[in-house]
């Protein structure tokens, strides 16, 4: 474990990110004339430098405890940092042309708040960095709040838009409740362990009464579940996704969700013991608990998405459903043994595929509203003729989201279901069956968009749409990995595998004496 001064050298990416955030705001102050392109450039240079710092400081297989164990510098953290940088970069890139975000008020004030927009995005990224590396209840809570507060502001970024303001307010209120509940759960864990460090909690609560630990974990899950939009903490999601500027929606649907899962992985494999209670009463309640949440999340997400007519709302429910699939991976991971690694691997692989397909889909929506199209399903009629490339890429993303081969989404789903089936047992097989049936249901609403784009005719007099170069490029960059990942996913999975090796089961096993 490194002390504060030693830790600083391992804290370079975060430091660079902080400097970039300050630079964004300061340059505007000094130069005095806000400029969208300049802000975007500063942000991307900062992200690039952060990326280099992450790669340069790659921890290979070693794990360092930073700041006296508050955070970790380990391969998994580094992997997620790269993930967040990629997410932020592409969303930020597409946002340079998003009419409803940066350019929210149109007209002369066009560039006014671009620096703030990127500063907020990078601050969220910083929060996500901290979330993915927290190894202490305290840092977990603080980083989660950092991300949340930035998300509230970002979703209310269209100040003069009522929907945006409503979204922000809803987000704050639900978020406040969830944070409070989570804090209570954390205080219970702290009370039991006498320490906020994950590893200390893990050792301390292993023998305590199971009902207290289970209660504490359920309360904590309120906060985590809220971040990843899991049922029953999903209520904010559709309104916020619909009301927030589209780039923000794209960002929220991938970045904080992935950060939430990174934290969940650390929480369930580093903080919560795989069996609670003492002696013969010892049991592992987590698979059942998480399995129920996962099934509820994906079923509700998919069923609610079936009847949506607004695309952003539809994708909000779709992202709830995907949180459910990801929770299936966590369910497997919580079962202990080799499943820990398999489940975490499944979550991470799934997140990577989800990054490409979901950001891709949202950038298509962004590009379409930039080209003057609405966000309703009806507006997409005949898109295959009006904007062939965007429609084709959207089709790729949709099929991938539905989890059909040969798209990347299938690879993610395959890993999730493999983790469940490999663990075996009634619970795992049952939720796996519920999971695959859900993915069949999801096809229906994704196919509704396909149908609107290709099977239906464009409205009378509709002209072909022209896309900006930025959007065309982003969409294509997202579509290519979605299309070809199936051909060669081994390098990616090997890389993730190495990032997650620390979660391979340690040699600690509890041997129960056989009763006569």
């Amino acid at each position: 474990m490194l002390d504060n001064v030693q830790s600083l050298s391992h804290f370079l990416p975060e430091t660079i990110l902080s400097v970039t955030i300050l630079a964004l705001l300061l340059v505007d102050l000094i130069v005095g004339k806000p400029n969208l392109k300049r802000s975007a450039m500063i942000a991307s240079v900062g992200l690039g430098a952060t990326l280099l710092a992450v790669i340069g400081g790659w921890s290979s297989s070693r794990a360092f405890g930073l700041f006296g164990g508050l955070m970790a510098h380990d391969p998994m953290g580094d992997f997620f940092k790269i993930f967040f940088i990629v997410t932020t970069f592409f969303v930020g890139l597409a946002a340079t042309r998003a009419r409803d975000a940066v350019d929210y008020s149109a007209g002369p004030e066009k560039d006014t708040e671009s620096a703030e927009f990127y500063a907020l995005m990078l601050t969220t990224t910083l929060g996500m960095f901290l979330m993915a590396t927290s190894t202490d209840l305290l840092t977990a809570f603080l980083s989660l709040e950092t991300v949340s507060i930035m998300s509230y502001i970002l979703s209310g970024f269209r100040r003069r838009n009522r929907q945006s303001a409503e979204a922000s307010l809803k987000y704050v209120i639900y978020g406040g409740v969830a944070s409070g509940v989570m804090l209570y759960g954390m205080s219970l864990l702290y009370g039991a362990a006498g320490s906020t460090s994950f590893s200390a909690v893990r050792v301390a609560v292993a023998g305590s009464s199971s009902s207290m630990v289970v209660m504490a974990v359920i309360l904590c899950l309120a906060g985590f579940g809220y971040k990843i939009a899991a049922v029953p903490f999903h209520m904010w999601c559709p309104d916020v996704y619909q009301g927030a500027p589209t780039p923000v929606t794209a960002f929220l649907s991938v970045g904080p969700k992935a950060a939430g899962f990174a934290l969940l992985i650390r929480f369930f494999t580093g903080c919560i013991p795989s069996s609670v209670g003492s002696g013969l009463d010892a049991s592992n309640p987590w698979p059942l608990l998480l399995g129920i949440i996962a099934c509820a999340t994906m079923t509700l997400g998919n069923l609610a998405a079936l009847v949506q007519s607004n695309l952003k709302r539809l994708f909000a429910y779709s992202s709830i459903a995907h949180a459910g699939y990801l929770l299936l991976g966590l369910t497997a991971a919580s079962a202990g043994g080799t499943s820990v690694h398999e489940g975490n691997l499944a979550i991470t692989v799934y997140l990577v595929t989800y990054l490409f397909m979901n950001i891709g889909a949202f950038v298509v929506i962004m590009a379409m509203s930039d080209a003057g199209l609405g966000e309703e399903l009806l507006d997409y009629r005949g898109l295959g003729k009006r904007a062939p490339l965007a429609a084709f890429c959207m089709a790729v993303f949709l099929v991938s989201l539905a989890g059909l081969p040969p798209m990347a989404g299938f690879v993610g789903k395959f890993y999730v279901f493999y983790a469940l089936i490999a663990k075996g047992g009634t619970l795992m097989v049952t939720i796996a069956i519920i999971g695959v049936l859900n993915s069949a249901v999801s096809l229906y609403y994704y196919a509704r968009i396909l149908r609107a784009m290709y099977l239906e005719q464009p409205p009378e007099g509709a002209a072909p749409l022209t896309l900006s170069r930025v959007h065309t490029a982003t969409i294509s960059i997202m579509a290519v990995p979605t299309l070809v990942m199936i051909l060669m996913w081994t390098p990616l999975v090997d890389f993730i595998n190495r990032s997650l090796l620390q979660w391979l089961p340690t040699t600690v096993t509890v041997i129960h004496a056989a009763l006569p």
Partner: protein, 684 residues
Amino acid sequence: MKRTSVLFAFLCASALASADEAKPAAAPVAAVAPAAAADFGSANIALSPRLSVSPKSIEFPESGGDQTVTITNDGNAPLEVKRVSVVQEQPVFLASDLTKTLQPNESASVTVTYKPDGKHKQSFGGLQIYSNDLHAAENPHDPASAHVTGVGLRAGTSWLLTAMIFFPLIGAAILLLPFFKPEHAKWIALAAASVPMGLAVYLYTVYDRTFAFASGNAGLQFIHRAVWIPSFNVEYYVGIDGLSVTMVILTALVSLIAIGASWSISKQLKGYFALFLLLETGMMGTFCSIDFFLFYVFWELMLLPMYFLIGIWGGPRKEYAAIKFFLYTLAGSVLMLLAIIALYYNSSATVLADGTPAKHTFDIMKLAYLNNGFTHIPPLLGIEFTKLVWVGLFIGFAIKIPMFPFHTWLPDAHVEAPTAISVILAGVLLKMGTYGIMRINFAILPTATEWAGFAMATFGTINILYGAFCAFAQKDLKKLVAYSSVSHMGYCLVGMAAFTQNGFNGAMMQMFNHGTITSMLFILVGVIYDRAHTREIDKFGGMATQMPRYAAFFGFAFMASLGLPGLSGFIGEALVFLGAFPTYKIITILAATGVIFTAAYHLWALQRIQLGKWNDAQWKDKTIFPDLTMRETLTLVPMAAIVLLLGFYPMPILQMIGPGLNDLLNHWGHVTGHLAAGSLAVMP
């Protein structure tokens, strides 16, 4: 920490191994993390035998010969070597028998012999050594303990199937190039579909009709094999045997004919033909895949083009029909995905194409022949593992057949689909269901198949009778033909559920014949729809007076479909009944009554459309009914010729499918513990 680093080393090794698909034949195997072996069992306190083998890999020259492997007991207790055998036993590779007890530090040698037959290169997975070394038994995938992880010669690589699978895809990519005009698309598609057809003809001439499982290479010919995804032991593995050869030929033929039948398509030509060719790639790939993962990818690959082909170019209710097809098929195949994963996870260790040891496998042949029907796996959800997985797989296939009660998507899809797509749908896609059942359910889970045999035969009979009765009631000619497909696919189910040589032959025959006959029927329906823009049977009458050539083909196809002796439809049905009767008496009698109803609705429809008086009230202007054009005739003639030829002389098909089906039946008999009662080989 030590353990972690070992695993790390293993991952690195597998990452390295991923890049070398292009290894030369007869390549030796990279030793995988030999350090791993030293780590295990070092803390053994009790006395235990410890098996080690050297060399780790053996290699044969192309001319064959002997190689020696030394087995040493490194432990501190006597090692009993009970048996040494070649993985995936093949007569061309022999391991000398060794039953001996080795004292600590004692060695014995085993000779492995390779006798090449000169015609097909062979591969073998490695040596399995059965001993009392517990560690070796528990870690069969650990290369250091029990396996000689070597390949001898790899099975000869053939690019034939790969070309057949991917040529249509290349054609699709070419016709999408911007400098081709839409009118060019159909010609490019025709050329792209002609290549697989040409190759299919070549395949037909060179296919070795005597080659069976015992000949080696798991009975497969034209193998093309390489490691695809090392982290999941997925291979690109294609090959054909008696089960798939006729289907591959059928796919090439029907696709080419369907391109001809698509000539009248007028909107969005490029999109249509690109999707069509993508569909052909999917179908061809499904029939050729021997790797289960690859099979699944191709299986699902077909869904999308089919959805768009029905949804964009279909009839009035095309959107409903397209999504119904899509959802039904997907619902079935997601369960199949779980079943595939379950089979994979419970499969025994083997080696990949490049010699890497693999803990589990997706290789359908190894799943079938190295896992003894998965009977030893503990139950899941309170149900026997084999039965649960069998049902998961079967639902996916049954929806495709389509088996009652999963058939309701079929009439909708057929009625709305354009003619050529109906041809593909009935001619090829339905066969994937029955093919999948034979290739996967029968081969991998024989005991569960036996358990479900009666149910399959019952549902098959329901299909036959229900389909026939529904066909009776139809006013729409295309719907009538669609229900006749439901009825005819029932014969396949009954035939294969009988577990007899004749039943298998009949089912396979019926699959091929239905493909050709029903293609003709749908083309004929398309011809009349193009002219009249309606398919209502009652609006027609006396067509034979106006379109004599059309009437001739119509009558011919209907007679073939109802099973007139002398035409190919009869052969399949007759073999099915011959084969099924010894196993299921009453069901076969019931099923056979279907023949009467089949004849009845066919003849009734034929009479209403072709015979009688011209419907003057409906069709005043007779000139809208010109006789068959040259193009239409050309699409019908090849099918008619095949139907006629096979009706008199079915041997071309029976010879090709014989060895493969025989192996399947024998395998089923061995795993279930009895060979089928009526397994007399009537046909040579």
